[in-house]
Symmetry: D2
Subunit: 379 residues, 4 copies
């Protein structure tokens, strides 16, 4: 990792915001999403806190209150309220956050030209990966926040709905397999602890489920058929009166959906996105299949294309054998979320280049749908 | 009412926003407040809808979606959700709303130079009064929204806490009095129907209760003494763990409060503000007095100074004899709110010049405290 | 007031429960209603606490925990939770509560045979009136609790839906009238402070609105027409998806309703019951009338029959001039509720004989409908 | 399975209720628990619905509405409300439910004397196991419902807090193990699909964590130390202001807890009960251990005593390979709950004799604590 990698990452974050109005940076529609401004500042705070302050003796803090405002580690009572308040913080203005980014970039240049120790290199890599994670959230949070606007803002051209690839099934034999990260390249603590698992034989689909296939499920009454759903999923569907995936709208002729390039007619050949675990599992039940476990997915992943959608697995997010939380704030990230969440594998059209690997364990609660999440089947 | 009056009002609204950052225009912290941008647009929509569209044949709508976005008459199911979404509408941006204002101003110039009929004159007066009401809300909503920001933005210099005037009591004799608006000058439908009321003799304080007096109530345990509170008031206090008025903070030496000029030490000689009806009534109970009824207030109002604080009365907001809702959307405003609200009389430091009269009936639910609301006593 | 009056009142309470199963005494469906067992015990606790303990030196408490369990004066934090827990208190069993009643009755006999002082006489009268109030609540709470049971229990024969009387309008002249209680007979503190009011001339209907008339309102789309409702009333209707009064069900041929004698076909000639203030006001709006103020009602009450329904007025529940809370727990009752409630005048088919007078001020929040509440009109 | 087994099971259910007052059968304090009366009726409904109606042609339904009232399969919208309404159903009275039980028992005698086909035998076994499950819930639900009563009812003598056994650690070697039910004896569908798992070597404690050990955690500030808790667990602790396990109270000298034999001083040598998964996991974190996975537990279970507490595992409740939902209502039970729940293994002091096996998969949401749930550790 070099200063050039660092600057590339930083600039890419800003490029994602090029077409935003100042106002677009501020809002937060629900607790799970954050304002664009917060992502810009928080990723900067990370470099300031974990690299500049401890490792660059000449560094002077940009603003005394930013550490409080842009820290995401909310352990104290009342933190949830606080988190939802992100969207009410009109100050500092966007221009000042951009100045903060620039200031930290320059100071990082000084640090990296001077003290490229092993620890600094590791923290730099972590900081870059952290910012990459937030790039993806920046995109999905923007989409959620802007989707509520009746003017349907057009702010970013990513090919949200590419064509899916080859179809058919891959067969995997019964056996003992090794899973988990190995090697020196960057990875998170939750994928460490490479270990053996025993898998029975299974078949896994080469392609993701498409919009068109999911439309059949809708038209066959999938959202009205309790037998297809988990008990909690059914409660979620009925309480929210759901009849189609997030961002879909019924129009005169079929479905439309909101994308960051504006409203579009649903493309039947593209992989379905923005389904929750509950919807993915109900669809799998309807076609007489299952979702893969995360180990089935990992073992089979070299046999199919992936990277368009985060793929819901039927594995709960739990620690690997020998998993240990890293000490301190950096280590806090993963372990404490290992309950009430399901694992997603793969990557999506919003994942930045170079930020994906087949051992990566993403995770969200089963009702989450604002990520580009899709469906692969096993039988 | 002339075009000059119109332009003066319009420009005053904009002057209130001069020191705001673009970001400050967007947010909405709770359902009861609105974003500054919304106030700017909604008051403009009023002139467009009720004057330009029906009375200026050459008028062309500024934008086809604005009528939907900036209408406040939410009668349909689900309107509340909608109202809270005001703070999520990043588009149109502030600059475009300002262009909308300018466009409507120019078209109004055309209309008023051509067709100053009696109906147009009445609607113009109504529109100006409507915008004046929103000027006050713009100030109080801004205060609420910005008060949550740890950076304590300083955006407007109004003397929020002036000195209070002369003290002592005025005596009013028993008798039949007339209340309600009379004359040709502008007034709202809720103050119409001048009528007789019988009042027993009473004494009313010349001055408002001060911060210093209210601090005594706090220090005497007023917020912990159930006997002083209405049953619903006590529930409100305990549920929200209240110990002092809105915007007050405990500091090392006494209290500070947030103002639109930043954080300040509480001024003991200024009239208390931002108390709810519950707090006003509990204070009155504590000193062995009562709040005036709205008729006591109106009858006695020529005997004392008023205009610094909206003054809570012990009158529920109910129709006067012979009250009738005006037909259509304009008439919808007052009558439908005549339940679960208490009347406030007077005016406040945020009320624009010329927008107050002693028959004016303001009203809010008893827990509301974000207006500059204060306390006058009777005994 | 004599021991005989006391015993008559006590026995009447028990007669109301004669046809209940033990299980029926226990439950509490919503916070506003109480279990029958609680009413039986709480009224007994009143005599124990305010008469026996302070005035009968030989009295020995029946059970040390009952004072805590059957006290309704909940001033402490968390009281609401407590109130809802009434319906979870399986112990003491009903039989023991009956023994408690009998024990207190006997001790009251001793007290009244010995020390019929003026204070004891006043407290006896208060206790009897208190128990009479709870007799009415016992009936209405039972109705609510049992109405949820698919087996439609039949437990009490009162003529819930009598024929209404004479129709037409009474004219009342403009003038100064006196309102409020006078004389020596029992009354509550909230009706004290007889005072003058000025009323404009009005007409008041001799008869209450009937079920049949209210059905017309339903069939004319009254529950779907926002223009007829208060803003809060419309929210209440839409949130609860209301389409008819409480206890009404749509059946194949018209409406049925649950009564304490079981399910019955709606009687079109009987006065409508179980409407909220919101429904009463919307109905009045629909027919181009108003609800009377409590003073219009009181002044005109000698000109029409009343007593079948509590009649919603358009007066908020507020203190009369010179109203003062009585000191201590007994005085706590009325004053603290003087916010967010509307006055009802009259009496209902559930009101015990002798417990009604034309100055009586009943009060409930505007959404309440489980009392036998009806509609009279003015124009 | 014979008629004698059937009758033994039925009588045992009733013996559990011998010391209850009629009132105790009715209430339901929270949605997750059911009234005793409902358990008595629902288990009877099971035999009526799945055995008598389809297999005994002479059978006549006891009551036409019971099928609706005592069915637990709530798939329709609004079911949750319905479930909470169980505690409001005063009718049918307890005596009638007992008559229903007796009637069904007699009819079962007729059926079993006539047509002991293989299908009937299997359904009989299922019905007996179903009633045994409800026996345990009857006990734990009663405890929860009665625990809220200030009179601390004493209704059942089971040794809730026995002495724990031998301490120390058992070592299990790395290897491939088989898990899941095998053989002909009764089991549920969720434990079927015997399959291989690969386990790394681990050590598991022979004894359960005691009250005394858990008290040390409390006194060391365990409930105040965010680092020990899952993110969702910490939110649960702070929102509910938890400081000790369910049923524990602080007394002058240490802790007391409510048991079905009344209030008792906490026994430091007995295994802790009524801890949630969150508390179990926080305790394990505090002592530097982990909770076992369900497969570690199953593989090691022959090496230690179990049966006093349901033991939280760190396994989410997910389907085994080849798991398939049984068709129809009987099959609905398990699969639809396979999300947002954690597996508990073992059995408890409330589990009826013969209703436990080492492959049994119990499951509850991570915040559940009203079962006799405890803690075993691995390292």
């Amino acid at each position: 990792m070099t200063f050039e990698n660092f600057i590339d990452t930083r600039k890419y974050t800003e490029r994602l915001c090029e077409r935003l109005e100042t106002e677009d940076f501020v809002v937060q529609a629900v607790e799970e999403v954050s304002p664009a401004k917060w992502h810009l500042a928080h990723t900067t705070w990370f470099f300031e806190t974990f690299l500049l302050k401890p490792h660059l003796s000449t560094y002077r803090e940009f603003h005394p209150r930013y550490s409080y405002l842009f820290n995401s580690y909310y352990n104290a009572v009342g933190s949830r309220t606080h988190r939802f308040h992100r969207g009410l913080m009109t100050r500092p203005p966007v221009a000042e956050v951009m100045a903060y980014r620039e200031y930290v970039n320059q100071e990082m240049g000084i640090l990296l030209s001077k003290r490229m120790t092993e620890e600094v290199t590791l923290l730099l890599e972590l900081g870059i990966n952290h910012e990459q994670q937030h790039q993806e959230l920046l995109i999905t949070d923007l989409k959620y926040n802007l989707s509520l606007n009746p003017l349907h803002p057009e702010v970013l051209d990513i090919a949200e709905y590419p064509k899916r690839g080859e179809t058919g099934w891959e067969s995997i034999d019964e056996g003992i397999y090794e899973v988990g990260h190995q090697g020196k390249k960057f990875s998170y603590d939750n994928e460490h602890g490479r270990h053996k698992v025993f898998l029975e034989a299974f078949n896994i689909s080469r392609a993701l489920v498409t919009n068109g296939e999911f439309e059949e499920f809708i038209r066959a009454g999938g959202y009205q058929n309790v037998d297809l759903w988990h008990s909690d999923g059914w409660e979620w569907v009925t309480k929210n009166e759901l009849k189609r995936p997030l961002y879909w709208q019924e129009s005169g002729q079929g479905f439309k959906y909101y994308t960051l390039e504006g409203m579009k007619v649903v493309d039947p050949g593209a992989p379905v996105a923005h389904v929750s675990f509950y919807e993915a599992a109900a669809y799998a039940e309807w076609v007489g299949c299952r979702l893969p476990t995360e180990f089935q997915w990992e073992v089979a992943s070299s046999r199919f294309d992936w990277g368009q959608r985060w793929e819901w697995t039927n594995s709960a997010y739990l620690p690997y054998p020998r998993y240990q939380k890293a000490p301190g704030a950096i280590g806090e990230y993963n372990g404490k979320f290992m309950i009430n969440q399901m694992v997603l594998r793969g990557a999506s059209v919003a994942t930045p280049d170079g930020h994906s690997r087949h051992t990566y364990r993403n995770f969200f609660p089963p009702q989450s749908a604002w990520q580009f999440s899709g469906i692969r089947l096993v039988k």
